[in-house]
Amino acid sequence: MSNIRKAFENGKAFIAFIPCGDPELDTTAAAVRAAAANGADLIELGIPFSDPTAEGPVMQGASFRALRGGITTDKIFAFVKELRRDVTIPMVFMTYSNVVFSYSADRFFSACRDLGADGVILPDLPFEEKEEFLPFCHKYGIELVSLIAPAPESRIAAIAKEAEGFLYIVSGPGAAGAKNEIKTDLASIVSVIRKNTDVPCAVGFGISTPEQAKEMADIADGIIANSAIAKLLETCGADAPGHIGRYVKSMKAAMQ
């Protein structure tokens, strides 16, 4: 069983997105530990990109501050390697295609294996382009997580059939960011996924409250909280990890 699959063995999975280097890597490390200690099942670590076209303002701000602070792919790799000495929770990286391409896909995924990352999420790499990196992922045993958005059944089925790791469902049209009212045909998307794969699926983009987490987790196998944790880091800085721990605990509790 892949390490990512294990994240879905403990009830509904809570996936915590944590942007690296906002405000600095010591806080990122404390945030990862706080999330893991309070019930998170998988950590999605963001490697910042200068122009994150799939993100809303909160994530743009996190990327901007991290890069301004001098964060690089190499610094993040060294940081994760250190973190992996005692943090065993499944981890995936989230970044943009150019960060991987520029590092050279072979070097990037080989580094992922060496430092103990389990998967990669690239929001600007749709199904049509995944061959760009998939051979390198397989070479080094890294799972490439596919995203699914509201789409015709045939498209959802095609993506689901070739899925690995978990499926990242974008809950509705709209760049990432908190929404008050989620309107989505999530149930029908999930039913198409179930017909085509046994790879677990989690809902991301725009879930911030325990109520939303429960509503989504009743349908899917897990949820991804991204802008909520990034927002805590933005507003509380080095004091964020304590708040993140309490937040993760409340979300995980609401989902069970």
Binding site: D51, N98, F101, S102, E128, E129, R155
Partner: protein
């Protein structure tokens, strides 16, 4: 030149969020359906003739030719189009397409404001809602065009993120499209972004070289020796090159904005200083750092101030079919002033980059050689900024 999945050699593709895939698939289907539809072609062609003022003139710049003392110089006058630039060619095509797709709202990015003005114009003409994203920095550099767009009924949204220039306007327009696909068409202004945009925009701009070829054959009885155009994303350049790509005797020269020079960090000369990368939906050349972070680029010209280049240009560069040369701010400003004084034509500062390179190569060419420069737009919008560049205290 496009293969089925939108590739030009290794370049192009569709590197976009899954949330946009349906929209580009729908667009490709609609475009393939209408591009050879006689009714669509008739309607577009009527608009280009009656509304935009095509065909644009191919003008023999006799004084410039004599002054430079070398090759014969012709100017392809896209500046004479309605709205003052080549951008209208593409916008009328896309707006007609969007209407047929049942869209009621156009969104666009703009750098210098020319594409925004063209989109606002088409939206006004066709009764569509229009929202234009423009880097805040550019709304200051091109204040007159902001007013023109508002006058035409468009809403202009200043983009404050990143470097607050063209690339950020593109990112913001993509985000807006993601959040509102059902009634909105993203009217992309250059031969860039995910497939099918580089192909659609090229096809609508190819009218430039189609006319140019017929006009030069009529005037000179032969093809030109070189065609020059400025390149940011590269829409007027690909439009100027397209029908000459198979004519190997015609040199195709794209003039990039070097800003303060290709040996400085203040440049936007993508092919000359960039590396292959993946951004804004395409694989192509980009100005970026060693970790793939997109570089903040610089040019005096807001329309060329973009860190990437269209994938077909990247391919033409790779196979050696087109040359891409850097032109600095200073050279472009000198050419801006030169064309005004010599021919009584004030070119857009973007187009002045192509004029500047012609001024470098024409004197060394024989008098029986022929150069065509595409004057992609008019320079009224730039007068205040150039005056300030020259130290004059002038404000609009």
């Amino acid at each position: 030149m496009t293969n089925p999945n939108g590739r030009f050699g290794i370049h192009g593709g569709q590197y976009i969020p899954e949330t946009l895939m349906n929209a580009v698939i729908e667009l490709e289907e609609a475009y393939n359906h209408y591009k050879n539809n006689p009714e669509f072609i008739r309607e577009l062609s009527a608009l280009l003739h009656e509304y935009a003022g095509r065909p644009s003139r191919l003008y023999f710049a006799e004084k410039m030719t004599q002054d430079l003392g070398g090759a014969k110089i012709y100017l392809k006058r896209e500046d004479l189009n309605h709205t003052g630039a080549h951008k209208i060619n593409n916008v009328l095509g896309q707006a007609l397409l969007a209407k047929r797709m049942g869209k009621t709202r156009l969104i666009a990015e703009t750098g210098a404001g020319q594409h925004g003005v063209a989109t606002a114009t088409a939206a006004a003409l066709m009764g569509m809602e229009c929202v234009v994203f423009m880097g805040e920095e550019d709304t200051i550099r091109q204040a007159l065009n902001v007013y023109r767009m508002r006058l035409l009924g468009a809403k202009v949204i200043p983009v404050k993120t990143g470097t607050a220039t063209l690339k950020d306007a593109v990112s913001e327009a993509m985000r807006e499209w993601t959040s509102r696909i059902s009634d909105t068409h993203y009217c992309l202004g250059s031969v860039m972004g995910p497939h099918p945009f580089p192909t659609i925009v090229r096809d609508f701009q190819a009218v430039i070289s189609m006319e140019m070829k017929a006009q030069i054959l009529e005037k000179e009885g032969r093809l030109p020796d070189a065609v020059l155009a400025c390149v940011g994303g590269g829409s007027n350049a690909i439009g100027s090159f397209y029908h000459f790509i198979e004519d190997k005797s015609v040199r195709l020269i794209g003039c990039e904005a070097a800003g303060r020079g290709v040996d400085t960090f203040e440049t936007a000369a993508t092919v000359n200083t960039g590396r292959v990368g993946i951004f804004h939906g395409m694989k192509s050349y980009f100005c970026q750092d060693e970790y793939g972070q997109i570089a903040p680029v610089y040019s005096i010209s807001a329309g060329l101030d973009y860190p990437g280049v269209g994938p077909e240009h990247a391919y033409l560069h790779d196979i050696g079919r087109a040359e891409y040369v850097p032109v600095t701010d200073e050279e472009a400003v000198e050419a801006f002033e030169y064309l005004a004084k010599t021919e009584g034509i004030i070119p857009a500062i973007e187009s002045a980059h192509a004029v500047a390179h012609a001024m470098k190569i024409a004197p060394a060419m024989n008098r029986d050689k022929i150069i065509v420069i595409t004057v992609s737009g008019r320079g009224d919008k730039d007068c205040a900024a150039i005056a300030r560049y020259r130290g004059e205290d002038i404000h609009e």
